[in-house]
């Protein structure tokens, strides 16, 4: 345990700080130490991400809510897409003609999003896919259906 962590716990024991404050301080300390470790290990070979829970599948689930519990009157969707297929599909976007990309840019601009889709690089997509490990979208529609999008 580091000196800083000990100090925080001592302050908590002495009631100088609340448990909530101690938690926040410890979290900030962990984040800082994690960042330092990353910086020091930048020149070292990176560990194999496959053992660290790299996302393998994108899942989309649509299940009926309680209102539509009868399976004969509801839609159910269960889709599992391998991440490798998504990566391959992204490479297919290189086939999109420039005119179509211009149209996409214009459409985005009309919606107030000033972004050039041509600036998206393969490396960015890789980072995005890796970061999707923590993503979970959970939506309950007005019709009572549950929509879940997550990676596993």
């Amino acid at each position: 345990m580091s000196e800083n962590k000990k100090k925080i716990l001592e302050m908590l024991a002495e009631n100088k700080i609340s448990a909530d404050e101690a938690y926040r301080l410890l979290s900030a300390l962990d984040a800082r130490e994690g960042g330092q470790k990353e910086t020091s290990s930048e020149n070292q070979p990176k560990p194999d991400m496959s053992t660290k829970g790299k996302p393998r599948y994108l899942r989309v689930l649509v299940t009926p809510g309680d209102k539509h519990a009868d399976p004969g009157h509801s839609d159910r969707v269960n889709v599992r897409v391998p991440m490798s297929l998504i990566r391959a599909g992204i490479k297919l976007t290189a086939l999109i003609p420039p005119e179509a990309l211009d149209k996409a840019n214009n459409a985005l601009r009309e919606k107030g999003i000033n972004f050039d889709v041509r600036n998206i690089k393969n490396e960015d997509i890789e980072d995005l896919i890796d970061a999707m490990g923590d993503m979970q979208v959970d939506v309950e529609t007005a019709h009572g259906e549950n929509v879940k999008v997550f990676v596993e």
Binding site: R56, Y57, P71, G72, H73, S74, D75, R76, V77, N78, V79, R80, V81, P82, S84, L85, R87, A88, G89, K91, L92, A94, L95
Partner: protein, 92 residues
């Protein structure tokens, strides 16, 4: 190592049709390879003809991209169940 898909299971249920079958993709690969070898001279000619045009990139890239997409199909599962119809596709 990512292995190519070997089997595809397709199940469709509807008012008019109700069938389920396994497609042995591993048996189709040699066939695809033969077709590719037969067509490869024509593809080469197409690439040479299109070399000076903006379709050059598409001609070269689309072949590789299509192959890559097929290779990574393993694990894909689509299961859609409606009140009267249902479609199930699974690639193993």
């Amino acid at each position: 190592m990512n292995w190519p898909p070997t089997l595809m299971h397709i199940k469709i249920k509807s008012k008019d049709a109700n069938f389920s079958f396994w497609l042995p993709l591993f048996l189709l690969f040699p066939l695809v390879l033969v077709i590719f070898l037969i067509l490869s001279p024509f593809m080469l000619i197409a690439i040479i003809v299109l070399w000076e045009t903006r379709w050059r990139r598409m001609a070269i890239f689309s072949l590789g991209a299509a192959f890559l997409a097929l290779w990574h199909l393993r694990g894909l599962k689509v299961d859609v169940q409606g009140p009267k119809e249902s479609v199930y596709i699974s690639v193993i």
